[in-house]
Amino acid sequence: YPVDRAAGDENNSMELIQQYLENYYNLGKDVKPFVRRRDSGPVVEKIREMQKFLGLEVTGKVDSDTLAMMRRPRCGVPDVGD
């Protein structure tokens, strides 16, 4: 059970990250969230953009603070212009 739950959490988090960046940071819907290269790729760039905008430490990685921020209630208007 713990293994399955952990896998489920990870999937949920990935889905959350993808949706968050799509909704509020104009990440293209066709961009895959699993980026193998460590410091590049549209998702990492968008995570950086999001962290910078929201005043988080800019790491390009979804650390616990970034994930916690993504889970907080917020306004539905995107943070960046289209």
Partner: protein, 379 residues
């Protein structure tokens, strides 16, 4: 702060709003009050004014909805997205939508409607999101906001004033409200006299007016130094030595009392049909004058203080409430003396007697600070 791409903004300063429906979470008057308060947040720092309409088209239409609600931006159930709004423009533009899967509350036990509405209406006026975490326009809901002392951050003020400029009273070219202070002359009251008392105090469009004899100080919370003016320079037909004053913020009217008469003013314009007798408000003939008055924006009720008693007037029903007068000290513990003047700010009532001032928390029902009367004048 940022504005929307293309910097859309309203090309007029008077806007209409309409509350299209209500959340079942709150009484209607609580929704009305939250929206009005949220609009006032922006009104106080801009030339914008708002009036409510209950039918037909409005610049800003406010609605509660769940999931798909006809704008291709469906809500997402409880949590995460609380609301969204559209930048200025025709049709859906300017409208604000609130996710009714949230638990809307007056306080912060659920999602505070005023706080979210103030943010969304910022979008309705043309502000995009701010990256400043202390700004109202920061995109993430801040449950720790102190509602009693809520104020816009400087970033929000800079943002909205980049679109609309400051309030008319900030402008020396304002044709309605004079802004030039009069120089003090012999016999005029001194702001920092430790024995200074006030005749009457009222808010006016986000400022505070402290009346004394023929003059008044005008204190804006945005500027350090209060202005000092002759009452007659604003309102030539008013007498000096006023008894009481209060602002009915939802009507943009200041009521001023002297003896058995009272006047209604919108800005510098005395309203038609005034002065009227105070007994038309429902006072008994034994009441010859009012000592002080304060308007409760939330409840839309005005407290009138006479001697050691007070009356409560329902501004919606336009009638004095039954069961009054009551002893002031009974319902305002700690306010034991006659009240010279009173006003409301940041959710507190401030009661003045002679050179003393009491800050009273109406929720906790207790005096929270004892101050000198002239503390608002930077003394």
């Amino acid at each position: 702060f940022t504005t929307f791409p293309g910097m859309p903004k309203w090309r007029k300063t008077h806007l209409t709003y309409r509350i299209m429906n209500y959340t079942p979470d709150l009484p209607r008057d609580a929704v009305d009050s939250a929206i009005e308060k949220a609009l006032n947040v922006w009104k106080e720092v801009t030339p914008l004014t708002f009036s409510r309409t209950d039918e037909g088209e409005a610049d800003i239409k406010i609605s509660f909805a769940v999931r798909d609600h006809g704008d291709f931006n469906p809500f997402d159930g409880p949590g995460n997205v609380l609301g969204h709004a559209y930048p200025p423009g025709p049709g859906i533009y300017g409208d604000a939508h609130f996710d009714d899967d949230e638990q809307w509350t007056r306080d912060t036990s659920g999602t505070n409607l005023f706080l979210v509405a103030a943010h969304e209406l910022g979008h309705s006026l043309g502000l995009f999101h701010s990256a400043n975490p202390s700004a109202l326009m920061y995109p993430v809901y801040n449950v720790l906001t102190d509602l009693a002392r809520f104020h816009l951050s400087q970033d929000d003020v800079n943002g909205i004033q980049s679109l609309y400029g400051g309030p008319p009273s900030d402008s020396s070219s304002d044709p309605v409200v004079p802004t030039e202070s009069v120089p003090p002359e012999p016999g005029t009251p001194a702001a920092c006299d430790p024995t200074l008392s006030f005749d009457a105090i009222s808010t006016l469009r986000g400022e505070i007016l402290f009346f004394k004899d023929r003059h008044f100080w005008r204190k804006s919370l945005r500027t350090l130094e209060p202005g000092f003016y002759l009452i007659s320079s604003f309102w030539p037909s008013l007498p000096s030595g006023l008894d009481a004053a209060y602002e009915e913020t939802s009507k943009d009217i200041v009521f001023i009392f002297k003896g058995n008469q009272f006047w209604a003013m919108r800005g510098t314009e005395v309203q038609a049909g005034y002065p009227k007798g105070i007994h038309t408000l429902g006072f008994p003939p034994t009441v010859r004058k009012i000592d002080a008055a304060v308007f409760d924006k939330e409840k839309k009720k005005t407290y009138f203080f006479v001697g050691d008693k007070y009356w409560r007037y329902d501004e919606k029903r336009q009638s004095m409430e039954p069961g009054f007068p009551k002893q002031i000290a009974e319902d305002f513990p700690g306010v034991d003396s006659k009240v010279d003047a009173a006003f409301e700010a940041f959710g507190f009532y401030y009661f003045f007697n002679g050179s003393s001032q009491l800050e009273f928390d109406p929720n906790a029902k207790k005096v929270t600070h004892v101050l000198k009367s002239n503390s608002w004048l930077n003394c």
